[in-house]
Symmetry: C2
Subunit: 330 residues, 2 copies
């Protein structure tokens, strides 16, 4: 099941050498972190492995908690094998990540362990905030605002990106200031990544994202563009508030479960509703606000890179990685 979770095998256990186990952003960050500290990239490999194991663990448990039935075009592990096995497989990956860091040299293990434990707590804290946000109103007393959203995004996505590059640098022998700066870079990059993801989740091309049109709107996700639009004072924001206040529970097509077929048969009204929410969110400036904040975070990430002495080649590669994360919206 762990081999299925990381994309190495299919549900029946057959090796699936062509299956994509994700984009490898975190592993790349860890290896570049070590190289940026002047060490060979392989010095960062235990960090890459540990962070990827934690990432796989968190996707696995999050899919179960969120009821998401697909992951990277395949059944989510809990949907394929059951709830209990998915919980246990996640725990096994978690334990293996701890073991991977515990086996690094004694000189760096305590610091690496502390970085990993902060990231772990951050992931759990972010997921708890995310689950709690689902039950809160879109607007008015108790509503989630964009500032809170950014904190959640930093915890859920930034913690582990920061941990990846920081642990790589740490294993590569970087000093505390450098490690901290790279951690901050990864955190900003994580928020930018999440904001771009939010824009793609509403306006992305399904052929490129692999997700259904307006998927995040169908599942009532409190994403940054909608929250930013709701905060506006104009006519579009007012209409959006009204539309969201009267909207019911998510459609059966939520979480990308149904693809397009069910919608075209009986989801016409829902299609029109989410298209209107998307148009109003854009008219009220939500899309522009999300992209502007992503650009600001990207700039902050770049500033972290420039704030400390790094090996030029790897620093340039980190910079290009940041550009690619943001460039997904073009």
């Amino acid at each position: 099941m762990a081999a299925y979770a990381v994309g190495w095998r299919d549900v029946g256990g057959t090796p699936a050498p062509g299956a994509s186990p994700g984009k490898g952003v975190r592993q790349t960050l860890a290896v570049l972190g070590a190289e940026a500290a002047g060490a060979p990239g392989k010095a960062g490999v235990p960090g890459a492995v540990a962070v990827e194991l934690v990432h796989a663990f968190s996707l696995l448990h999050d899919d179960l908690m969120d009821g998401d039935e697909t992951r990277r075009g395949r059944p989510a592990l809990w949907a394929a094998y059951g709830t209990g096995p998915a919980v246990l497989t996640g725990d096994a990956l978690f334990a293996l990540a701890v073991r991977t860091v515990a086996l690094t040299p004694d000189g760096v293990a305590p610091a690496a362990m502390r970085r990993l434990s902060v990231a772990l707590s951050g992931l759990v804290h972010g997921q708890a905030r995310d689950l709690a946000a689902e039950d809160r109103p879109w607007h008015g007393a108790g509503a989630v605002d964009t500032g809170e959203y950014a904190v959640t995004a930093e915890l859920k996505t930034g913690s582990l990106l920061g941990c990846a590059v920081a642990t790589g640098a740490l294993l590569g022998g970087a000093d505390d200031d450098t490690v901290d700066a790279l951690d901050a870079m990864g955190r900003h990059a994580g928020v930018a990544f999440q904001l771009v993801d939010d824009v793609l989740g509403i306006w992305g091309d399904p052929a490129e994202t692999g997700k259904p049109v307006h998927g995040d709107l169908r599942r009532r996700k409190k994403s940054y563009p909608v929250l930013a639009a709701l905060a506006g004072g104009g006519r579009a924001a007012r209409e959006l508030r009204g539309l969201l206040a009267e909207s019911g529970p998510p459609s059966s097509g939520a979480n990308g479960r149904n693809g397009g077929a069910a919608r075209s048969r009986d989801g016409g009204e829902e299609d029109r509703r989410v298209a209107r929410v998307a148009a109003l969110t854009e008219a009220a400036g939500g899309r522009a606000a999300a992209l502007a904040e992503a650009a600001r975070r990207l700039g902050a990430a770049r500033a972290c890179l420039r704030a400390v002495p790094l090996a030029p080649g790897p620093a340039h590669a980190l910079d290009r990685l940041l550009t690619r994360l943001y460039g997904r919206t073009c």
Copy 2:
């Protein structure tokens, strides 16, 4: 939810100062481990905290996987709050355990982390073996034998007891040989503890154990006494094999869900069946075999205590703790 899991609050969040958060065996072992190494007991406290957090995490996830709806006389956390929150609360406790060990002094943190990671892997491995055993036959090809059972018990119960006392000693400054001997002591004690638990799960007084009469037999648990009885060659063993081979799925009273009321109304046949299984298990020597193996493990644990130099008072206290674990059957 974490406060509920460790017994500090009730389901609604009200402090429950009288609620028992367990017997405290693991924390006691950690503190005695430090004292046995000649250090103040408080040196072992981070180990006690980390191990208790891991224990709480594993009970929480195990209850969810096993479908056990009660824990220490209260609803299991997943039954009280739901599956997703139970998964996340377990993850949070796990992350906090890692953090607790990561924050110990650099001189001992790597070794303590490695001990904890071995125990974590052991718990997961043991639970995986336990779940797999459920689907295996009682007898014949592919059956579970008592040797395999002991390995599972050492992983599920012994790993963490060994980790508790070993980590306490490690934090107290003990050398590797002493730490290893105490780890082995805890592992043997864990198997003995599990064997005594198995005997109590079949023949224990419900008023004392808090569990239903013959509970483990109703839920078809592959416990040591039954496995040992099945391995025998006599008439009772043969009848037992036949009875278990023809037995169906667990009754609705399995997992202690129903107490006695449902059984007395419609479970007469099941009552007679499990009483016969208990009688045959005893007649075929299963109870005696379990107690003999527990006594052997207890002796092995004591031998570990005597094999290394320890502070006499704490060593004596550890010895008495072993006696109490075994004495539960008297």
